[in-house]
Amino acid sequence: MNEISHIRNFAIVAHIDHGKSTLADRMIETCGGLNKREMKAQVLDSMDIERERGITIKAQTVRLSFQAKDGRDYILNLIDTPGHVDFSYEVSRSLAACEGSILLVDSSQGVEAQTLANVYQAIDANHDILIVLNKIDLPASEPEKVKQQIEDVIGIDASESVYISAKTGHGVKDVLEELVIKLSPPSMKSDDELEALLVDSWYDAYLGVVILVRVYNGRIEKGMKLRMMAAESDHIVEKVGVFDPKARDVDSLSAGEIGFVIAGIKQVADTSVGDTLTNSLSPISKPLSGFKPSIPVVFCGLFPIDSGDYIQLKDSLEKLKLNDSSFIFEKENSPALGFGFRCGFLGLLHLEIIQERLEREFKLNLITTAPSVIYKAHFIDGKIIELHNPADWPDPTQIDFVEEPWIKATIMVPDEYLGSVLKLCEDRRGSQEDLSYIGNRAVVVYKLPLNEVVFDFYDRLKSISKGYASFDYQLDNYEKGNLVKMQILVNNEGIDALSMIVNKLRAESRGRVICERLKDLIPRQLFKVPIQAAIGGKVIARETLSAMRKDVLAKCYGGDISRKRKLLEKQKKGKKRMRQFGKIEIPQDAFIAALKIGDD
């Protein structure tokens, strides 16, 4: 058993690229967890995508053994949290497992939107905060200015900030020393009833489902019967261990400790981040507070470009689901795109990550339909239904009103781009809540409808601010919206994959853009083809594709019909990915290109 006063549990709060993973690596190195040969840059980011994008998707943990200047040995547990808003619930659970946080700020960049969002979460979790200024070796580093910023914006004392360069290792030991001094050790109750938090879970090919836990009270040991309170299930503990950073078995995890448990759990979906674990034989009466199941907020269709890949897509989704219970999928059949799946994600980044993993790890070529959010349709008869697929949109005459989700977005942007950012927010039906300054950077807080944000907001924001704007959001509330289902009709037939839910006032301009784009994308047919955007029966935008007038092959010569027949076959092969709509055929490429969002 480890002396609880010698334990420090902490997280690192930082914006992307401010050096979180590098600092973690240096700390591991300093504490001797791995030798030089075993150190691979950014040990904690184990997935390829995590390493490449410099983001953390799953919470990771590492136990460091550190002998402080006071001569005593300490156990420092680092929980590496996901940095992105899509995973903010996971972040909050990870923070709940710690007593303190390192606020890591790039001293050449300063405070960013994500830094703010995360540090406020840490403060809300009553954390002791250790401020660490990184990249002190860079010529552009301005630690004094950044310290002032932190005090002005966040309102915490920055006078005892530690200056480091995670890259060179300068100051890393000071960080460890300060952690011991500044952060409170975990506290415990007087009884020994088991009370633990499920921080994260994942699937391991050899071990099965692994759960990461923080023990608050009592202890977890091999052979005991563990109860997951929200899941209402019991499991026998097979293995208990810690990561230092390699997985190492221990006899037990006691109050204040963080470690992993393997308990014969079949799938990740059987576990919920934030659940409370207790002893089945003497369960506690009240679970830890703050548990909520993670709910997908962004939806889209995923279809294989090659319809033959459908089964493979299904298998791949199931495999990913093993390790990511927050993402959901169900079968969907689209006349335009064939068989595929309607999938739900925690946010846009989550969507992108899943899509990228499917393409990279499972070698699938995918089409993604326009992302949608969850709408609440209130029927005249009082019924309320949640909708996330335009295809399920009910008959408008039966709807009393529809509510849509709104978010509160925090955007930080250099002054010179503020005008464009404000215009973008206004264009997307936003309402301004706050506007303040940190030095020459503006901090704007806007309320925005989520469906405007999932469309292409982030791409637009990046492009109008030349990449300087940082963006963070949290779900706010549901509000009544003037929403309609806009259909796209080609040759008077609805193309399901292109229909979308839009604000009525924005429908016409959105519809026009799509019709124009389709006109350029669909090859000419044997007759005139109208391309229309419509709400119900009313056409709001229209383009006409003119008819093909001349299409001949060379003359048949000397009875050589074979050649002609083969030319036709070749032509047919070239048009393999055509989708038939009544009497016309549209190449699948046209839909894919029409779905590519961006330059409107």
């Binding site: 093909m548 007038r549 092959l553 000397g558 009875g559 074979s562 036709l568 076959e569």
Partner: protein, 390 residues
């Protein structure tokens, strides 16, 4: 009586035109006797594949068969007539180039048994003739037509349109001249220039040096041809062929009606009946190898296959929908599992009827004049319905 056509391919030309992708070779000194022997032997070989005896048409194509001597032609015709029965109304055509068409040659061909000439005029505009790489000028072309007119009752000349930089206004004027001559001969073949892979024009096109008329312009030209041809009483009876009544090409109609035909000579194709199927025979493409195979081995066949029912059915459409006359459903249904009556109910085809590109009448169909202009896309749809069962 079912009709049989015989095609004799003569692969040699004095010069190769830059748009031509037929099986042709630059003329070289050849041993005419050996070649004659080979043709005769191969006619015999190929004739074993058909049970038809009466020959309705013989066609000497190329290449430039008018480079052959009349004596050679006569011997081939005689051999055919000794081995088959020759219809009293047999049509015997030879293709000729204005540059190698002297009055005497024509007269000798007539004596040899030829009764129809197809002349490769291509244009009456010297600028276009030069561009097309032809070795004659419009004066020679007109003179040749005059000779043909005095000697032959049936004849044709070929014209190419859709030439780079061709203007609608000048083309219209040219068309009047073209149809004046066509009226005197009774037949005209007028083709849109298509750029085929492995030709010098193809390379020019790829390097952006060929300014082809737009699709709109080509369509305007096509409909202008139809309009003027009606005025000159030489209506379209096939996409690119016009004639006065009774002057249609019997031999070519044989292809378009999917009759049986024998093709002899390098690269020539045959279609013969085999039980209830259609068989395709293709001759060896290279002239030298063909000659060797025929003289030294058994025959000059490179490929022999029984076409699948769907392939044969598609060939019925590829050929039959080119014609103005209706295509009888039976001709198609004898091969296809999916009957024409069912096919025209499929949305992809029904749309064609609704849009006036195809006409259907009792148990037959045809393309309209508008439909013929986009036949390729129409065939693509039929192919999709037949082979993918859409």
């Amino acid at each position: 009586m079912k009709s049989l056509g015989i095609y004799i391919h003569w692969p040699w030309c004095k010069t190769i035109c830059p748009y031509c992708d037929f099986n042709v070779k630059k003329f070289e000194e050849i041993d005419t006797d050996t070649w004659l022997k080979a043709y005769i032997k191969e006619i015999k070989n190929i004739s074993l594949f058909t049970n038809l005896k009466e020959v309705k048409s013989i066609y000497f194509g190329g290449g430039t068969p008018s480079l052959i001597s009349a004596e050679f032609i006569e011997k081939v015709i005689n051999f055919i007539s000794n081995n088959f029965s020759i219809s009293s109304s047999v049509e015997i055509t030879i293709e000729a180039n204005p540059s190698s068409t002297k009055y005497n040659n024509l007269y000798n061909f007539k004596l040899a048994g030829v009764n129809r000439i197809s002349l490769g005029v291509q244009s009456f505009n010297n600028r276009d003739l030069k561009f097309l790489g032809r070795d004659h000028d419009s004066y020679q072309a007109k003179k040749a037509i005059k000779h043909i007119n005095t000697l032959f009752n049936k004849a044709n000349f070929d014209i190419i349109y859709g030439i780079p930089d061709q203007k609608i206004s000048t083309f219209k004027k040219e068309l009047n001249e073209i149809f004046n001559f066509a009226q005197s001969l009774g037949h005209l073949s007028i083709y849109q220039l298509t750029i085929e892979p492995r030709t010098p024009f193809y390379k020019l096109l790829k390097s952006g040096k060929l300014n082809l008329p737009s699709e709109e312009k080509l369509s305007d030209m096509y409909f202008m041809i139809q309009e003027i041809s009606e005025r000159y009483k030489l209506p379209q009876y096939e996409i690119s062929n016009h004639s006065t009544f009774g002057h249609e090409s019997i031999h070519n109609l044989g292809y378009w009606r999917y009759n049986q035909y024998l093709g002899i000579g390098p690269g020539a194709h045959s279609r013969v009946s085999k039980n209830s199927n259609r068989m395709s025979l293709i001759q060896i493409k290279s002239p030298k190898e063909w000659l060797n195979a025929v003289i030294k081995d058994t025959n000059g066949i490179a490929n022999k296959e029984i076409l699948s029912k769907n392939e044969a059915a598609m060939e019925v459409l590829i050929t039959g929908l080119r014609l103005k006359e209706f295509l009888p459903n039976d001709r198609f249904n004898q091969f296809s599992k999916l009957k024409l009556e069912e096919i025209i109910e499929k949305p992809l085809i029904k749309g064609l009827i609704e849009e006036g590109l195809i006409e259907s009448k009792k148990s037959k169909i045809r393309t309209t004049s508008k439909g013929k202009a986009v036949l390729n896309s129409i065939l693509y749809r039929f192919d999709k319905v037949i082979n993918s069962n859409y």
